[in-house]
Subunit: 239 residues, 6 copies
């Protein structure tokens, strides 16, 4: 029982991390998980929001969005609708929380890093690709600050962060689901973890179904193996 | 090393489920997890949204909100701000998804159930209390429909749904965190599960920290024991 | 010709004022006029809005809202619609204006009191119940400030404020209309007055009809008697 | 003790009603109460809102607004702020309710009349001028419909509607307050009534003060005399 | 081949500029191009927006809007819709940009002038009438500041600004199009220029058609002649 | 006097048109004018908006937006601000109007084409690059419809559309301004024209300065030569 794209159950799609995609932001990475393409930019601003001034701590935020043309059927533009949808909000918060887990905000000093993750093309796993790419953009932004002697401490990043989706499709645990599998998965889980295999965020959802702890364990095994591979690719890209 | 409120690490706060709190909705339950108090109402409307008409399937939605006076420091009213915040959106979506896991929408027939979970007083764990109370309100709304012969099939509920928070505080895995513990937890997890112990949703977040799989397992053990107790209390309340 | 609920024309519904309903706000009162139940909270913030700083005067605002599940048919949530409706605005303004009539803002000192009146269950007269309950919550908040020596002057409240509805139903002047009468009243009036019988606000509306000055006078007689009784109940509750 | 503009206490400001101010709407009246100038337009649309279709009844709505340049200090544009303020909402609702008191919606047939009251210059009493002018614009719109045989019944207007403000200033009851008096009035009342002296709406507010029933009676006497004069001027304008 | 209103192709409609239309703003002009009537107000505020403070430069903004009753068919109110439409935005920006071309913001000193152009009646050419009238209101506001010694330099206005529309209708180049011509024009151009004939803004649009450079030249000839006449009328009005 | 990037005054930046950039939309083109990069997608929907149904005519709309990371300094996201800005509105309208000039909506049949122009990187001339790229995306979408026999008539495109900016910088007329020149241009013009040199839209703005007709003519000469070259590149890309 093979997958439509020929992969084995525990295999990632081809992953590409292209640094320097845009010229303006301090870090700019195009991340591709198969046909999913997300542009991750890390923009640096001197100073922090008002409520944080004088604390000696920096700040990191994230915003996720999807181009209307990224999806199979054109989706409406949230700026035109005049409000950010629930799903967008949720993913933006997840990305920000995940990346804050690897950065020492004291070492960052009173600087703000805004991570913009804009999906150019969607084919499942956009949030996990975004987190994986955003880490690389963040690393570039931190280097950029370091080169300008603008860090309070030289090494604000304590670990790498990557993420992958995993789910149960056709009764089998499968890694890194494309849209075709994601849309009919019985269980869907997103895992964010570090390069040493400790967990940052686990979100597992039964889609109209429930699942056992044994399934949870099998999904975690698969996801953590995938994340190990993703952090290796991050290191390669940053080398 | 005892907890500030005298509980053991794996003990729930006192739980109360008061049915019939309001006279208008088909189901209305005040749920209390210690000082956390959430009013859960299940309102029934004949018919379904336009995009679902003629499908023979019913629909279930949920909205979560907090009274401005529910929190320690008064919070701004989202209607006045003119937009629903990210946290509110996220929790509303979680509640809806969790409760849809127990209902057969075909058996419900073309009826819509709106679950409103309004927090009257917040002391940690509002979303898990909301899910636990909403199940009881939903059960009442389903009985109400049954009594009017308005169901397509007599038993639309396939299982019970309850939820509880669990976290790592002071280095120890603790169940059902009040605000005082929640605000300083190193890891924070919300678990939604059924009365047979299968999982519906697992959301575990390191708060500025990461955690091991062993910790994840210990948290799940504690949460599932708590949920078993909560589903027993639901049955008692509905008896 | 008796009323559906057995009352005489000039009789109030059973009134209950429960103090200390919530633990966080400085004042928190559940007020019930029959089946109408409104949660009135008075939250204290040190300081005043920017435009008032350094004036030596305090400030008092009010916000009124209705839970979606409070009404006979579920109403849409204003936060989700993204705007506060005209009726909500109007009542919020009425409550604030009414309560500001009894407080000496100089004596209050540079403190802000926010009155939140959230309708848990609606059965006519929600705005008059809200005003009556908000006065008691306000009195508690003022005592709370006094106990902390945070008042500029020990007695900022110059009188009591209460309110009641009155209308013409079936050609008869009736006091404190429940929804069933309110929805078919020919004339509808809300009266806000003090414990000494002076007027704060009179709002009388012909509903698709007009009315004579004699009717206005009869309605005022009935309302003022009702308010006398309500202020007696406020004193009892605060004793 | 005379008034700043030389009027006696019970005297109206000079009132002008200019019909046909705009060419597009079926009725268009510029009403002036002294320096207060409001443009009242009655626009007719065939048909009624969806929820009223097939009822045989017409509909009448009103919207009030103020030009930014109308006030002493320029006020922000509500379209730019993105929301209609509470005061605007409240006055729009008052105008609509008041004018619906004189029209038989069955006789109007399934037509909609929109009354737009735009304040070109504000000097107190804009809402009462708006109501008084809107009645004349409405009368013109009804004639316009009659001339096209578009009414279900030839006489949909059962009476005239006019309005005036009255207040207590410097301890004296005064009619038709300009801004200079209105801004320092102790009590402020708006009265809407018919040409036969029956009441449509009474809204009396103590501004940081309370008032006795005797004051209420004196204010009503003054207002009703003013309204009698205003309805005479309406008849003249329409002759 | 004459025009419906009897004009020759290169003739303006009757133009009127009425100064002092409102009493509050420093400048207030009712401008009429035939049946198009726009109220242009110039309101002065001491000081400038925060981002400009301490620069020694003044600021000038413009907002354009249309009364709902101004058009042939009633248009919805943008404040009620909760957002300013694209056309409104575009015209507001055009007016501000055009008038900033004639004012030396250094000479203005740290003052802000807000130009409000509210269309009372629309019959084509509202934006060009607005610019032409706004110049006169601006001149009055500048005099008002001069009289109060509030200018940094006595002559902040370097030239006059006026505007007119021109288009191709029935195959002929025609000046100052009323709605009847504008709505069926093949090409439509708005020209803003100074009293010495230099250009400020040229916006020419093929409406579902394209046009040659020869047509562009003929339109410019006609527009510049019209603007010469308009600047003469401005001088007369200001004399 | 050469330009910073070494070009002559009448030379375009290097232009690239990459078709098939995204897999979902019927047409998807990445257009580059030097460092300005805009992703232009043409999405096809069967059917037309409600107000156009049954007319036999198709519809074409356009939306322009900028990624936050596209600009030199990160710009705020319009979806988060909750409203589309004036500049965005204006450019979206320009693109839609320009492209509608080349399409026969009757030949298109009752289909809707949405053109999304999202700026990935901004360096001046984003709107003209967007129009030039959108034409190619539109041509691909029309071919896509033709291949599915979904057109009412086989050749809905009557001409090509391209656009370029031109301005006066350092006293010289220059073509296709990058940000560095655009930001200090004295005059700025955008020209949209067809492959036969007829004009679609001309927008020339003095930036705090005015300009003569001779300058206008020189700018048009330069722009039309540039557009001739751009339409040649479009034909090459589509070959």
């Amino acid at each position: 029982m093979t997958r439509a794209d020929g992969r084995t159950d525990d295999q990632l799609r081809p992953v590409r991390l292209t640094r320097g995609f845009q010229k303006h932001p301090a870090g700019s990475v195009l991340v591709e998980f198969g046909d999913t393409k997300v542009l991750c930019a890390a923009s640096v601003t001197e100073g922090v929001p008002r409520w944080r001034k004088g604390s000696g701590l920096g700040w990191l935020t994230a915003e996720y969005a999807m181009l209307p043309s990224a999806t199979n059927t054109r989706s409406d533009r949230e700026s035109v609708k005049g409000r950010v949808g629930g799903r967008t909000h949720e993913i933006s918060r997840l990305i920000g929380r995940s990346l804050r887990a690897c950065i020492d905000l004291k070492a960052l000093g009173e600087n703000t890093i805004a991570l913009d993750c804009d999906v150019l093309q969607a084919d499942g796993g956009t949030r996990t690709a975004a987190i994986t790419g955003a880490y690389v953009a963040l690393a570039d932004a931190v280097s950029w600050l370091g080169a300008r002697n603008a860090l309070a401490d030289p090494k604000p990043l304590s670990c790498q962060i990557a993420a992958v989706s995993v789910g149960v499709v056709d009764g089998r645990v499968r890694l890194d689901l494309p849209y075709e599998e994601d849309s009919r998965a019985e269980v869907d889980m997103n895992v964010v973890a570090t390069d040493t295999g400790t967990l940052v965020e686990v979100q597992g959802t039964g889609e109209g179904a429930t699942y056992t702890r044994a399934t949870l364990d099998a999904m975690l095994d698969s996801a953590l193996a995938g994340i190990e591979e993703l952090t290796r690719l991050q290191r390669e890209a940053l080398a």
